[in-house]
């Protein structure tokens, strides 16, 4: 696949057309949880609810196991996966605490101190990635 200009940004998944295609059914599942009646049905029987959404096995597993980063890698978008998180009582900040691997408290602490600096976070090479 041709490299995209934003592929060099570390720790970031840009939700573009390729991701959107891959994640379509996953994202449509997530967004269905915006409504209470759907949240009730999902919480009653997750497996049965997911049957209505023809997502890949990997995506389905990632939903059931709440693997937040993997969901994004498989085409999920944060505004969609955050609905699944909200269903579990996890807000945006706590979700970020999980995705960054920092944990909720140290993530919150970092934000109070002004957030993650741009220095050292512009290019994958600065993260020791290619």
């Amino acid at each position: 696949m041709t490299e995209k200009e934003y592929d060099k940004i570390p720790g970031t998944i840009v939700f573009d057309a390729d991701k959107s295609r891959e994640g379509y059914h996953l994202n449509q599942f997530c967004i269905s949880l915006r409504l209470q009646k759907n949240r009730d049905a999902f919480n009653k029987n997750e497996e049965a609810y997911l049957d209505a959404y023809p997502m890949s096995k990997e995506q389905r597993e990632a939903v059931l196991k709440r693997e937040w980063n993997l969901l994004l890698e498989l085409g999920g978008n944060i505004y969609y996966t955050s609905k699944l998180a909200a269903n579990d009582g996890i807000n945006f900040q706590n979700l970020a605490g999980r995705m960054t691997g920092m944990g909720v408290d140290s993530y919150r602490e970092m934000m109070l101190k002004g957030g993650r600096s741009i220095e050292g976070n512009r290019d994958k090479s600065e993260w020791g990635e290619d």
Binding site: Y6, L72, I78, G115, I118, N121
Partner: protein, 283 residues
């Protein structure tokens, strides 16, 4: 004739709405965020606009992945606050100036901005949080002090429209508004931003220096700001910082020379840098 008095740039962090709705704005964490809007609320009272033209993005609420319009103009009579997964915000429905909205839609298309027309649409925090911070607490059974024409911009799926396109759309919106016959005071809101990244391992990115330069450009060099590339937004301001292209639509509706009457910047609100600016059109 309708007249554009001023433009407002403003973040629309959902947690700000939650803080207002749950009455915790006096807490240490939130105090500095709301302190910076005190002057804005007084200014809004003085301006007493008839219509607010509000540029925002929908966060997969009215539009899910089935339909992703780049620009969608609200032309329906009113818009209900949406349930975004934690219940609808307890704020009034947003009422449109329907006739003016239709006029703008028509004018834009004839000026070659082929926007989508929305006659049914729920509105999420992207629209209601800026209204709340600028007007203060408005009870659910009360009414917003102004009519609101919503313009939704896709910034969720890459690519968002370019800053240049947004700036030029602003100019077309100005022509549309100023050719509307009724005598109305109009204020334009450009919302979203500033630097923030909500997702994946780099979440929490904040770039205050960049944000402050952007605020400077909003006042003094909008054409320069309109040339900022998507790559720069994504890399320097985080994956969600690209929302700032929406401020350029607001800026495009104003004169090149404006007076900056207020500015506010604070980190953090949840994951986000809160930025706010008020620009008055020079006579």
């Amino acid at each position: 004739m309708a007249k554009i008095m001023a433009g407002v740039g403003c973040s629309h962090v959902p947690a700000i709405g939650v803080a207002m709705d749950t009455g915790i704005t006096h807490e240490e964490y939130w105090k500095p965020v709301f302190e910076g809007f005190k002057k804005s609320r007084e200014w809004m009272k003085k301006q007493n606009p008839d219509v607010i033209f509000l540029v925002y993005n929908d966060h997969c609420t009215a539009f899910d992945a089935r339909c992703i319009p780049t620009f969608a103009l609200g032309c329906g009579a009113e818009f209900q606050p949406a349930d975004e997964g934690w219940g609808p915000r307890p704020v009034p429905a947003v009422k449109n100036h329907q006739k003016m909205a239709s006029h703008i839609a028509q004018s834009l298309v004839l000026n070659e901005f082929d926007i989508t027309i929305m006659n049914e649409m729920e509105v999420d925090h992207g629209l209601t949080v800026p209204l709340s911070v600028m007007f203060g607490d408005i009870k659910q059974n009360d009414e917003w002090p102004a009519l609101v024409i919503p313009l939704c911009v896709n910034v969720v799926q890459y690519p968002a429209p370019t800053g240049n396109r947004c700036y030029n759309l602003g100019k077309a919106i100005r022509r549309a508004i100023e050719s509307y016959e009724e005598d109305l005071n109009v204020i334009i809101f450009g919302t979203g931003g500033m630097s923030h990244q909500l997702q994946y391992k780099r979440a929490g990115l904040i770039n205050s220096d960049w944000d402050k330069r952007f605020l400077d450009l909003m006042t003094a060099d909008p054409v320069g700001a309109s040339q900022i590339t998507h790559l720069e937004y994504l890399r320097e301001t985080g994956s969600e910082g690209i929302e700032m292209v929406m401020w350029l639509i607001m800026r495009g509706t104003l004169n090149e020379n404006v007076t900056e009457v207020h500015r506010h910047y604070h980190v953090p609100a949840s994951n986000t840098a809160v930025g706010h600016i008020i620009l008055e059109n020079n006579a």
